[in-house]
Symmetry: C2
Subunit: 577 residues, 2 copies
C-alpha cells in the first residue's frame, strides 16, 4: 500500500542518500540532484571543524531495524463500516504504513525517535482518500463512532503537527490525501486552476508546465509537501516576491468538516463580503477538517529565468543591500542572504576539480581575496532568482547591479546563484546522514522587524553557547542563518542548528529543550513564533504570548462550533490543552 | 457637539456645494476642489441628453427642513452611569447629533430618506469616545444594562451598514470615534505606525507627511472615512497597486468586544501562527466590537509622483491594454479605465475657455478626431498615477508607452490624468445636487474575472433598460462604468447609475429595487457581492449565495461566542436575520 519511492521515515526519496566512502568522503546516490555522483571530501571535515569534534566512524549508529509498532486500537463497528463502504486498497492496518503516517519530519521529537527509539503512539489505520465524497463519508462514520481523524498530506511538517496526542484513547485514522492529486480544471483566460489538495509541489508544477503555466509556489519541501498541507500550515515559497505566499495564491478552498463544507461559492481575488471564514483556514493545522481542493492563481511560464549571486564583505553589508532592495518595488522572485557559515558550507559541498578548472578557481580566489580584499571568514552571499519578461528581468538586474555596487557587493554570477538555490533540496538529506554520527540538527525560522535582525541573531548565538554548556554537550554548537524572505517591515530568518551528542542520553530531548529555549530568546527579541513552519505542538506553549486571551477563546469557540465531538483531535496550536 | 464643518446628512464639507446660477449653469462653492469657482455649463445638459429628459428648474425639491427625530429611548440606569463616568461633552441626546449618526451615505435608503422623508429609527444617544478605556468602560456598562452599541467612523458607508435595525427595542448608542484620531507612534526604521481608529484618511496623510511618510491608502472617501471604518468595511484604496488594500496595510489591530480584547501582541508582517482571528476582523462591519487602533505600514514619501492618461478608440481596446499591463509585474500605483460616458462626463465638467486655450483645444480635437480618427462616441480613457523612485517611474512609463502603442492608445498627458484622478473627490457632491432635480443616483461595484467583464457590463446595461421600463420611469436610465482596480485574475468594476424620477412615488424604493436586481445580474454573471463597499444590510440577502451554509453557521457561532448578548446589534451581513 505504502508508496515505495519515499523513505518511510527519513527525508526524501529512496534513490537518494549519502553514503560514506572508504576514504571517508561522501557520495550522494542516484541522479536526482546535481550533488549526486561525485566525491564530497570537505563536508565532514567542515562539520568537524565547526563542531570542534572528531567524528568516530566506528561508532556510527544504525537505524533501529525492528521498529516497535503498537497494535492497532480498532473501533470494530467503524472498521466494519469502512470495509463495507470502501475498496480494500483504500485502507491499511499494516504496521509499516501506520508507522509511516504517525509522524512528520521534526528532527528531535519525530524522526530521531522513530529511527532510534520508538514513538509513543501510532495511528490505528491509514485511510487513502480518492475523492471528496470519500472524505465526506469517512467524516460521517468517524463522527458516528467517535473516531479521531488526522489529515495527512506530504508528511513533511516540522512543528510536531503530525505528532499524535499520547492521551488519545479513541481509534486514530490518518487520512492520506496523496491519491487526490489531480488538476480538476485550468482557466487559462483568468489564470486560475482548481487542484486537489493531495498534489505535491512537483506534481503541480509538472502538470501545469505541460499547459504552459506555473503556480510558482516553491517551499523547500515542494518535492513532497502538498497543496492541502501548504494551506493548513500557511506555507511560504522561495519565489513569493513574484508569486506570493500561499494565502495570496489560493482564491478558494474547500474544507470538509464534521458540520459540513466550508467554502466560497466562487473563487474570489479580492472582495468585501464581511468576515471571510476562508481566511481562518490558512494555518488550521488539521484542527478543523480536511482540505479537499483549492482554486489557485497560475501564471504563464516566465519568458526568462535567471540566477545570480552577489558576494558581500560581511553580513551587515548584505543586510543593507537587502533593506535597500526591499524598498525598490522591484524585488526579484527570490532573494536570499546566507551567513558566512552557510557560505562556507556550500563551498564544502563543491566537487574537487583538477586541471584548467582548478586553475580558474585559483584565479577567482586570487581576485576575491587579494584584489577585492574580501575576508573568507566574514564574507557572505546573496542568491537571486529572476523571473519575468526580458524587460522586467533586465530592469531588476540593473537595480541589483546598482545596489550591489553601493554596498561593496561583487556580482558572483548565475552559476553560483543556481547552485545556491538548488542546494536547498539536496541538503535536506544531510540531517539524516549526520544522525549516523551522533550529530543532531534542526532548522527553525522567524519573522523579525528589520531593526532587530542583528540583535536577534546575536542573542540566539549567545544563547546557544549557554545552552550547549548547560547541557554539557561535547565540542561547540553549530549555528548558521540566512535571510530567506523580504517584507516591507521585516524579514524571515531561517536558522540551522546542530550539536554533537555522542555519549549524551536521549539527545533528542536535549535538542528539543534547546530549541524551546531559543524560541524564547527569539520572541524576547521581537521575532514571531514562526514565519512558515507553523505552531503544531512544538510551539503551542508560546501562543498565549502571541495573541490575546480573547482571541484564543474565539478560536476555541469556533472549533467547538464546527467540530463539537473533536473528531479532528490532532490538538495542534491553541487546541493543545 | 456635532462637528460643524461637515454637512449633517449630505456628502462632504459645508464649504462645498453646487449652486445653480441664473443662466442654469453650475458653480461649485468654496475653494476646496479644483472644480470650485468656475461656471460649469455643460453638466446639466449632459445629464439631460443622457437621461433623455428636460430638467424643470421650477420643480426642484428642497431638503425637508424640519426633520422628524423620534424622541430618545433612554435606558435610565445606563444613562445615569454614563453621566457619572464621562464628561458632559462626551455624550449627546441632541436631535441633530442623533439624526446625523443614524445613517450612512447609501443614496436610496439613507440619504434620500433623511433629506426628503424620515428615517425609521434614530439612535438614542451619541457617545464620543476619547480613549480605548472609554470604549472598554462603555461596552461594560452597555453589557450591564443591555444597550445596543453601533460603532461610527466617518459615516460614509454605502451598504446600509449604519442603517439602524427597525426592530431594535433596546436603547441604541452610536459610538463616534472621531476624537480618537492621533498617531500614537511612528517606527521609522521598520516603517510602521500605530494609529487610533478614528483618524480620517486626510488627517492620517497630513500627519504622516510632516514626518516624511505616507500610508498611501486612498479610498474615494478618504477625506471623511476612518481607519477603523476601512478595516470594518475591508476597504480598497485607489493606489493599492503600490500600497496594498487595507488588509495588506494593517499589521495589527485592537478590537474591544464584550468578551475582551481581540489583538495580537505584536504587529506581524507575515507569520504562520495557526488560524489568525485578526484576519476575520476585516469586514466585521460593526458586528463584533469596536476597533480602537491599528498598526499600519507606512512608506517614505515617493521621490516622484506623476499623472498620465491614455485615450483608446473603445472600451475593448482599453481592456486589452489593462490585461496586458496586469501581467507585466510593474503596474503603476493607480490605473483606471473609464467608459465613454464617463469620459464625456469629465469633459462636461471642464470650464469654458477662450482665446489661445480654446484654439489649442480645437487643435487637439482636430488631431484626435481627424488625424487619429478617434470616435467621440466610443473613445475611452485610462488615468494613471505613478509613484516611486525616478528609476521606477521611468520604467513604468516605458512599459505604459509600449503597451499603449500596441493597443492604439494615445498618450493624453499628465494634466488630463491628474484631473481624472482628482475628480473622484469632487463628483461625490453631484449626487446631492441631482436629488434637487429628481434625479436619483447610486454607485455599486464588483470584482469580476477578466473573461467576464464585457459580458457582465453588457448584461447590466440590458437589465437596467428592462428595470427602467418595468418601473415606468421617464426618459432613459443612466449607466456608466469604470475599471478601478486590476488583479491577477480579475478587476473591480465601478458602476454609476442614475434615473429621473419626477412624478414617481417613493423613488428611493424604486432605486433600491433596481439596485437589488442589478446585483442579481452581476452575481449571475460571475461578479462578486462587492469589491470594497461591503455587504451591510443592502446586500445581506445575497450572502447565502456567496459562502456555504456551514461558513455562515461558523460566523454566527463565533459572533455568539464573542458577543452573546448581541450588544453590537447592528445586524449587518449574515447577522441580518
Amino acid at each position: 500500500m505504502t508508496e515505495n519511492y519515499r523513505w518511510l521515515h527519513k527525508w526524501g526519496f529512496k534513490d537518494t542518500t549519502f553514503v560514506v566512502n572508504s576514504d571517508k568522503s561522501l557520495t550522494m546516490t542516484g541522479n536526482r540532484y546535481k550533488l549526486a555522483g561525485y566525491k564530497i571530501t570537505k563536508l565532514l571535515p567542515y562539520f568537524e571543524e565547526q563542531l570542534k569534534v572528531k567524528i568516530d566512524f566506528n561508532l556510527s549508529q544504525a537505524e533501529n531495524e525492528n521498529k516497535i509498532v503498537l497494535s492497532a486500537n480498532k473501533n470494530i463497528p467503524f472498521c466494519e463500516e469502512v470495509s463495507q463502504l470502501f475498496n480494500d486498497n483504500q485502507y491499511s492496518f499494516v504496521d509499516e504504513d501506520r508507522l509511516q503516517h504517525s509522524h512528520g519530519q521534526t528532527s528531535a521529537e519525530e524522526v530521531y525517535k522513530v529511527l532510534y527509539y520508538q514513538l509513543d503512539r501510532t495511528v490505528d489505520m491509514v485511510f487513502y482518500s480518492e475523492s471528496e465524497n470519500d472524505v465526506k463519508t469517512l467524516i460521517e462514520i468517524a463522527t458516528k463512532y467517535n473516531v479521531c481523524l488526522i489529515p495527512y498530506g506530504g508528511g513533511t511538517n516540522v512543528s510536531c503537527a503530525l505528532k499524535l496526542p499520547s492521551n488519545e484513547a479513541r481509534m486514530i485514522v490518518a487520512v492520506d490525501m496523496g491519491r487526490m492529486n489531480r488538476i480538476e480544471w485550468v482557466d487559462k483566460e483568468n489564470l486560475r486552476a482548481c487542484v486537489q489538495a493531495g498534489i505535491t509541489g512537483v506534481q503541480l508544477e509538472e502538470e501545469l508546465k505541460k499547459q504552459g503555466f506555473t503556480c510558482g509556489h516553491e517551499p523547500d519541501s515542494m518535492e513532497l509537501s502538498t497543496l492541502g498541507g501548504w494551506i493548513a500550515t500557511n506555507a511560504s515559497g522561495m519565489k513569493k516576491n513574484r508569486y506570493g505566499n500561499i494565502e495570496q495564491i489560493v482564491e478558494n478552498m474547500t474544507m470538509v468538516t464534521p458540520s459540513g463544507i466550508l467554502e466560497q461559492t466562487q473563487p474570489l481575488s479580492r472582495v468585501s463580503m464581511g468576515m471571510q471564514p476562508q481566511n481562518l483556514l490558512f494555518g488550521s493545522e488539521g484542527n478543523l477538517g480536511i482540505i479537499t481542493k483549492a482554486v489557485i492563481k497560475i501564471h504563464p511560464l516566465p519568458q526568462v529565468q535567471e540566477y545570480n549571486s552577489v558576494i558581500f564583505p560581511n553580513f551587515e553589508q548584505g543586510l543593507k543591500f537587502l533593506n535597500q532592495l526591499s524598498q525598490t518595488g522591484t524585488v526579484p522572485a527570490s532573494v536570499r542572504l546566507v551567513d558566512n557559515k552557510q557560505f562556507r558550507f556550500a563551498q564544502a559541498l563543491k566537487p574537487q576539480v583538477k586541471g584548467i578548472k582548478a586553475l580558474l578557481n585559483k584565479l577567482t580566489e586570487f581576485y576575491i581575496f587579494k584584489i577585492r580584499g574580501l575576508n573568507a571568514q566574514t564574507m557572505v552571499a546573496a542568491t537571486l532568482v529572476f523571473e519575468g519578461s526580458q524587460q522586467e528581468v533586465a530592469y531588476q538586474k540593473a537595480t541589483i547591479n546598482s545596489l550591489a555596487k553601493q554596498n561593496q557587493g561583487l556580482i558572483a554570477g548565475g552559476k553560483n546563484g543556481r547552485v545556491g538555490y538548488m542546494l536547498t533540496f539536496a541538503i535536506a538529506y544531510i540531517r539524516d546522514l549526520l544522525f549516523n554520527f551522533h550529530i543532531l540538527g534542526e532548522t527553525f525560522e522567524t519573522t523579525v522587524p528589520w531593526s532587530q535582525i542583528q540583535q536577534l541573531c546575536n542573542s540566539v548565538e549567545v544563547a546557544i553557547e549557554e545552552e550547549h554548556k548547560k547541557h554539557n554537550l561535547p565540542g561547540k554548537p553549530y549555528l548558521s542563518y540566512r535571510i530567506t524572505q523580504l517584507y516591507h517591515t521585516s524579514v524571515c530568518i531561517y536558522f540551522t542548528h546542530a550539536m554533537y551528542a555522542k555519549g549524551i542520553d536521549n539527545p533528542e530531548n536535549v535538542l528539543s529543550k534547546i530549541e524551546h529555549s531559543l524560541r524564547e530568546i527569539i520572541i524576547k527579541n521581537g521575532g514571531s513564533i514562526s514565519h512558515h513552519h507553523g505552531v503544531g505542538k512544538l510551539r503551542s506553549s508560546f501562543m498565549k504570548e502571541m495573541i490575546s486571551s480573547t482571541s484564543i477563546d474565539l478560536l476555541k469557540k469556533m472549533k467547538h462550533g464546527i467540530d463539537p465531538s473533536n473528531i479532528f483531535g490532532v490538538k495542534n496550536n491553541v487546541f493543545d490543552s
